[in-house]
């Protein structure tokens, strides 16, 4: 077929079809947000592939679905009720102040002070359950104790995420075929693919990106150690420049052990897990 006819065919298809209406985007958003999430094999998150139209960011001007609005109004109402009626709340403070002004005695005026100082703690009453008031003893904080430096400045870990070292995999011999990385909504993903089973692995946080004299990009890092593995192919240095993962590089490959270094923009919690068909080790770094 000549090029001119190819162009004519292309133009004919352009005239024959048309771009989707805005209604289709609206309909999809309603359908996806209005349905319960299906069973997932990984930690549940919002649909990261849907994009800003179907999954608008908080700054988006598109309308939020009704369920979200109802939830927001409910939370605000509960917080207001707790602020006004809770122990040491505004109602009690006003009553104490009125008592103090009425009696005009110094003891009554000072008696109102403890109520005032208790206000901030009581203002978070509905959500302030016992674990929240003691963050250092909460289960989420436990992994951080093993690696306090990596936790500094990092956000609270999502479900399935931890700031401590993680390990897993099978005991067999395997060959690494390729590696890749990419941005996702709320995390960056690094994937190593194998021809056999995913071998024994260990992912450990590092204080800086310059560990093992690798000189990786970033200010913090992770080491991914793969036991009983040979490097069969794929890239050896990925300069990804993502929000969290700046660079991933093979630090060493000898004696059946391959070690990857991941340079991070800052210390963050991560989640290492295995996916089958093809066998992959996935490291999600929370952003």
């Amino acid at each position: 077929m000549s090029d001119s006819l190819g162009d004519e065919v292309q133009q004919a298809f352009a005239k024959m079809t048309r771009a989707p209406r805005t209604y289709l985007y609206e309909r999809l958003r309603e359908s996806i947000w209005g349905r319960p999430a299906p069973a997932v094999l990984v930690p549940p998150r919002s649909a990261p592939w849907v994009g800003p139209i179907l999954n608008p960011s908080p700054g988006s001007s598109r309308k939020a679905p009704r369920a979200v609005l109802v939830a927001v109004v409910l939370v605000i109402t509960l917080a207001t009720v707790a602020l006004l009626a809770g122990p040491g709340g505004l109602v009690h403070q006003v009553a104490a102040l009125r008592t103090a002004l009425t009696s005009r005695s110094p003891t009554a005026a000072t008696a109102a002070r403890p109520a005032t100082s208790a206000a901030p703690r009581a203002s978070a009453a509905p959500a302030a359950s016992a674990p929240a008031s003691e963050p250092s003893s909460s289960p989420n904080a436990t992994p951080a104790a093993g690696n306090p430096t990596s936790q500094a400045g990092a956000p609270a870990p999502l479900p399935g995420y931890s700031c401590a070292g993680q390990r897993g995999g099978a005991s067999g011999q395997s060959t690494m075929t390729t590696a890749r990385g990419g941005p996702q909504n709320g995390y960056d993903r690094f994937v190593v693919q194998f021809s056999g089973e995913v071998p024994q692995f260990e992912v450990r946080p590092q204080d800086s990106a310059a560990f093992a004299q690798a000189g990786l990009l970033g200010s913090a890092g992770l080491t991914v150690t793969l036991m009983n593995t040979t490097a069969g192919g794929g890239p050896t240095d990925l300069r990804l420049g993502l929000r969290m993962i700046q660079e991933a590089k093979i630090l060493s490959s000898s004696g059946g052990t391959v070690q990857w270094g991941i340079g991070l923009a800052r210390a963050s919690c991560f989640h290492a897990f295995v996916l089958p068909s093809p066998s992959r080790l996935v490291v999600d770094v929370q952003s």
Partner: protein
């Protein structure tokens, strides 16, 4: 991450080319997107080529809808119209050759990717593309109007693909 957002346009056009009905194409893309969303979560986002994967879901959904639309009930939406001889010939081609031409000339997909999208072998894609282009060239050379039977007629005889 506007992966689906970027693909809705080609997906909707592909569905229109297969179904020849704008409203049905919207339904197909809508259903395919929901199906893809469910599958994507199950796969934990690990999809090698997202465009091919998503367009294949759309094409499969269209094929299922196409069979249903052969039944003599149900409302039909607005159909694409021919604006010139080329589009007239394209509209009267069978759905698979038309879809192959669309994927090759409009979406500029390589043959291997077309094969995955339309669930065919690369050799079949090559043959369909060659025969469709030859047929199109013949029609244009003759310039005597459309001589290809309407796709509905050919599909009722069960010789599609």
């Amino acid at each position: 991450m506007g992966r689906v957002e970027r693909l809705l346009d080609p997906a909707y056009r592909l569905a229109t080319v297969i179904l020849l009905d704008f409203a049905a194409a919207e339904d197909a893309v809508h259903d395919a997107t929901l199906e893809g969303w469910t599958r994507y979560r199950r796969l934990a986002g690990e999809v090698d080529d997202f465009r091919t994967w998503f367009l294949a879901i759309v094409a499969t959904r269209c094929r299922r809808m196409r069979w249903r639309r052969l039944l003599p009930f149900g409302a039909r939406g607005e159909e694409p119209e021919a604006s010139d001889l080329v589009s007239d010939v394209l509209l009267h081609l069978r759905k698979i050759p038309r879809a192959v031409l669309f994927c090759h000339h409009f979406l500029s997909l390589p043959r291997e990717e077309i094969a995955l999208v339309l669930d065919m072998s690369p050799n079949q894609v090559r043959d369909r593309l060659y025969s469709a282009e030859e047929r199109l060239q013949e029609e244009l050379d003759q310039d005597i109007g459309v001589t290809i039977p309407r796709p509905e007629d050919s599909e009722r005889s069960g010789d599609e693909r």
